[in-house]
């Protein structure tokens, strides 16, 4: 009993980590621009598939592949912002939503063209015996996923709270006009937010692919779940996104394990709708935070 439960719990934490990273990706862009980037899921897919391409197809060493994947993802984020978001500056919300959807389809199209419709996988980052806790088996890659997620969160925290650039990005979110007045280059911050969130998404994809495989059309579902994680704690809060990600991951793997695997995606969707309908501002958010929000 306990063994099975723990097994589900760990697998929930693993996928939950990726949802948390997607959620954080949403937050980074939302905080700088008030845009929800619906192409966020594609960044994760790009991470996984490019990593496969560099390690398995080009047979490059692991570290070099990882660096190349991150750089490419960053570049894609940059291109997306410069080619589509920036030219549409000040367009209405409906258009902004649609353009991120359009970009996600383009990205999916490119991925399908290059990688086809098959799922891809590569070996875990480290070979070795899995750990065992009360009989539940934990793959080493699981630790990598959770560890990398943790590291990302800490680095992002330091970035936003301790560096000038990070603080400037937050300032753009709170008041772009004021930020401009004090000499912050808002346009560059927006660009940076897309690069950063693409990189965060790609890192998640790189880490999870050895466990759950990756295919070209996984993006939308990842985006929906990541969004769900992000709004659980209130859009914009990274801590909320992490907790939300884990909750969704765990519920999903419990549903798959105890009820029916076909319903695992439905769980996140139902939670998503319930939150949107009843507490769109998030479940664990203070009232004062709410008043500061735009919508």
């Amino acid at each position: 009993m306990l063994t099975v439960f723990l097994q589900f719990l760990f697998s929930g934490l693993t996928v939950g980590s990726v949802y948390a990273l997607v959620g954080i990706g949403f937050n980074i862009i939302y905080n700088a621009t008030s845009i929800i980037n619906l192409a966020q899921g594609e960044f994760v897919v790009i991470g996984g598939l490019l990593m496969w391409f560099f390690t398995e197809s080009l047979k490059l060493p692991f570290l070099l592949s990882a660096v190349l994947t991150i750089l490419s993802a960053g570049l894609i984020g940059l291109l997306m912002e410069r080619l589509t978001i920036k030219p549409l500056k000040n367009a209405d919300l409906l258009l902004m939503i649609m353009i991120t959807i359009a970009v996600s389809i383009v990205l999916r199209g490119i991925l399908m063209f290059n990688f086809g419709k098959d799922p891809y996988v590569y070996p875990p980052f480290t070979e070795g015996e899995p750990l065992s806790i009360y009989g539940a088996i934990i793959q080493q890659q699981t630790l990598w996923v959770i560890g990398i997620t943790g590291l990302c969160i800490i680095l992002l925290f330091l970035f936003f709270n301790k560096t000038i650039v990070g603080k400037a990005m937050l300032a753009c979110a709170v008041n772009p006009t004021a930020a401009k007045l004090v000499g912050i280059n808002v346009s560059r911050m927006v660009m940076l937010s897309f690069i950063l969130s693409a990189v965060v998404g790609a890192i998640g994809g790189m880490a999870i692919t050895p466990i759950s495989l990756m295919e070209y059309d996984k993006g939308p579902m990842l985006a929906v779940k990541g969004f769900c994680a992000a709004i659980m704690g209130g859009l914009g809060s990274n801590r909320g996104a992490v907790i939300g990600g884990f909750i969704i991951g765990i519920l999903e793997s419990m549903t798959a394990g105890y009820i029916h695997s076909g319903l695992k995606d439905a769980v996140a969707l139902v939670i998503l709708l319930l939150i949107l309908f009843f507490k769109p501002a998030g479940i664990f958010v203070s009232k004062t935070m709410l008043q500061l929000r735009k919508f």
Binding site: I35, I36, L38, T84, P87, L88, L93, L94, L95, I97, M98, I99, I101, A102, V103, S104, I105, V106, L107, R108, G109, I110, M112, F113, G116, P220, M221, V224, F227, I231, H260, G262, L263, D265, A266, L269, V270, L272, L273, L276, F277, F278, P280, F295
Partner: protein, 316 residues
């Protein structure tokens, strides 16, 4: 309908009548049937987006509900197809109410994601509990009315485009009425609309229901025409396809929805050779039209015509 619309409508009916006569080829008729089905869904989304300013990424959900409910009712419960089609629309309308009441309080992004989530839930439900699961089911009865059953593609072409015409008349009447004006007003300024005493929420819900009903009618017709359905026709991709039709044709003009539906339906036929590209091509079309032809084909065309006319007047 307005004067200009009546003229366009006449040409439209003329073309529908003429096409099967000019070319009886089953292939062209089949593409025409699908274009008509898509046009029904697109008209609904066009009113919702272009006039009420609400986004939906879940039209495939209503399309799927229409197809499955009508197919199951006629196949397993032996109901006449017309009755099952109507019941399917009723079911879709009820689902739309349940979804709309909480969802339409949401703005922009949240509504987009909520409707997307709804569409995906329907997709999962069809996969898990729909007859035949992911592989779907067949033997769905053909459309019949008063003892006469339609089986030929040309028959469906007339039926479906006839319904497109009816839906179009209803929709044009609606948007040029008190209600339509109110919708456009809400789109422009919700603050002022409230101050003018418009039932903002109620109107949004009604339009949302209307778009769901159109989509479910299309879904039902699709099921009875093709007689075999599986969940894959009702995925997120279809919702996005419909979105594309509306945008390419022109979000602020109902005729745009029809033109967009025809273009987007014919396009993959032309692109058959590049099958691996299709997703990419769709994505690029959507991106480019959002960036450079934001108004869409029909409004741009209308402007051109007006300009030409203006020139002609000046010459006189």
């Amino acid at each position: 309908m307005k004067k200009g619309d009546s003229l366009v409508f006449f040409i439209f009916i003329f073309l529908i009548g003429l096409l099967p006569v000019l070319s009886g080829s089953t292939y062209i008729m089949t593409v025409g049937v699908f274009a008509g089905i898509n046009a029904l869904v697109a008209i609904g989304l066009c009113i919702l987006m272009g006039y009420a300013g609400q986004i939906s990424l879940g039209q495939a959900g209503f399309y799927g509900i229409g197809a499955y409910v009508s197919a199951v009712l006629s196949l397993h419960f032996g109901l006449p197809v017309v009755v099952s089609l109507i019941l399917a629309m009723v079911v879709a309308a009820m689902v739309a109410v349940i979804l709309a009441v909480p969802a339409l309080r949401l703005k922009g992004h949240y509504l987009a994601v909520a409707t997307l989530g709804f569409g995906e839930i329907i997709y999962i439900i069809l996969n898990e509990w729909g007859p035949g699961g992911p592989s779907g089911f067949g033997d769905i009865p053909h459309f019949s009315l008063l003892g006469y059953t339609i089986t030929s593609t040309t028959g469906y072409f007339y039926l479906i485009w006839g319904l497109v015409a009816v839906v179009m008349i209803f929709s044009l009447n609606l948007i040029h009425s008190r209600t339509g004006r109110a919708l456009r007003a809400i789109h422009d300024s919700e603050l002022a609309s409230n101050a003018m005493g418009l039932d903002v929420v109620e109107l949004k819900i009604k339009v949302f229901i209307l778009s769901a009903v159109y989509a479910s009618l299309a879904g039902g017709l699709y099921a009875h025409y093709i007689t075999f359905i599986s969940p894959s026709s009702f995925s997120l991709f279809y919702s996005i396809l419909v979105l594309m039709m509306v945008i390419v044709g022109g979000i602020t003009n109902l005729w745009g929805a029809i033109i967009g539906a025809v273009v987007i339906t014919v396009l993959p036929e032309l692109l058959r050779r590049f099958e691996e590209f299709d997703v990419l091509v769709y994505g690029l079309i959507l991106t480019l039209s959002l960036m450079f032809f934001r108004k869409g084909l029909v409004p741009i065309l209308v402007e051109k015509i007006k300009k030409l006319r203006g020139l002609a007047v000046v010459k006189h």
